[in-house]
């Protein structure tokens, strides 16, 4: 009787341990796969900046516009852009032309997603921009868009937010 009882517990123990081993490994592989896709999305997601124009219809005020495009392969993890803020500087970073930000936005990110941006350069910053253009021998000025994007990735059990740099140099040509 004692032998039978002990044998039953041993079978239960081995069965439970084998089931737990299989279950934990299957869950770990699934988790590693999800995490790997997130790491890959984080590594491959990039933003390209393209200057689209300047509108200077008002005095001491200029509207600068850019198109931000998501490049690289389509992220395998669902992600969205939540905030984008940037400093505008001269290309050599000696002159700071202001800090600009989008309000909280929710743009779903995929390869090729385009996000229009606009900054209103006015007051002292406008004067500095005008001075840069006046000092340039051919009237063209190279400016630096130095920004960060807050991207939110959707994980199986919550959301994870990461900051990704968005940097680009563009030229403000004479007469623009």
């Amino acid at each position: 009787m004692k032998f039978e009882q002990r044998s039953w517990w041993q079978v239960a123990g081995i069965g439970l341990l084998a089931a737990l081993l299989l279950l934990s490994l299957a869950l770990l592989i699934l988790t590693e796969r999800n995490y790997g896709m997130f790491r890959e999305a984080l590594r491959t997601i990039q933003f390209e900046i393209r200057f689209t124009g300047i509108d200077q219809s008002e005095s001491r005020k200029a509207h600068l516009r850019w198109q931000v495009t998501v490049t690289g392969p389509a992220p395998k993890v669902q992600s969205r852009l939540e905030l984008l803020d940037w400093h505008l500087r001269s290309a050599d970073q000696s002159v700071h032309l202001g800090f600009y930000t989008t309000s909280e936005i929710h743009v779903a990110l995929a390869s090729g997603t385009e996000i229009p941006l606009e900054a209103v350069v006015e007051g002292n910053n406008f004067d500095k921009l005008q001075r840069l253009r006046d000092e340039s021998p051919n009237g063209t000025v190279q400016l630096l868009f130095d920004g960060h994007a807050r991207v939110v990735f959707r994980a199986p059990r919550g959301e994870i937010s990461k900051i990704i740099p968005v940097v680009g140099v563009f030229t403000l040509a004479e007469g623009e």
């Binding site: 009882q5 002990r6 517990w9 041993q10 239960a12 123990g13 081995i14 439970l16 341990l17 084998a18 737990l20 081993l21 279950l23 934990s24 490994l25 869950l27 770990l28 699934l30 988790t31 590693e32 999800n34 995490y35 790997g36 997130f38 790491r39 994980a155 199986p156 059990r157 919550g158 959301e159 994870i160």
Partner: protein, 123 residues
């Protein structure tokens, strides 16, 4: 000899299961695991219970607790290190912080499980 092989096999199986379960709820993977924390802790505890069904003496239970904790910590380390090699190279403390805490969790939860398993099995 046969008993040592049996205990070693149990330790390896239990250690991998406990380490993999612990990895599911460490901060690097927390949001990517399909199961909540409580399930991971429950699985480690059940590893202890299943081993408790299979060992007979207190010394064997303690030995299994240590063996499972050591092998579980190694499994946990590999689970976190392999997908984060570049992070581990620049900031190893991010991985090691989770590993030593995970090792302690595995050790104590497994020991409690072994104790409960031995009570259930009437030993």
């Amino acid at each position: 000899m046969w008993k040592a092989v049996r205990l070693l096999a149990l330790g390896i199986g239990g250690g991998i299961a406990a380490g993999a379960s612990q990895a599911l709820q460490t901060k690097e993977f927390l949001l990517f695991s399909p199961v909540p924390n409580s399930v991971s802790y429950g699985m480690i505890f059940l590893v202890g219970v299943s081993v408790g069904f299979l060992v007979k003496r207190v010394q064997d239970g303690l030995l299994m607790g240590i063996l499972i904790a050591v092998l579980g910590t190694a499994t946990l380390f590999l689970s976190l290190y392999l997908p984060n090699i570049e992070i581990a190279a620049s900031a190893p403390e991010l991985i090691l912080g989770s590993v030593w805490l995970g090792g302690l969790t595995i050790f104590f939860l497994t020991l409690i499980g072994i104790f409960v398993g031995r009570i259930f099995s009437g030993e």
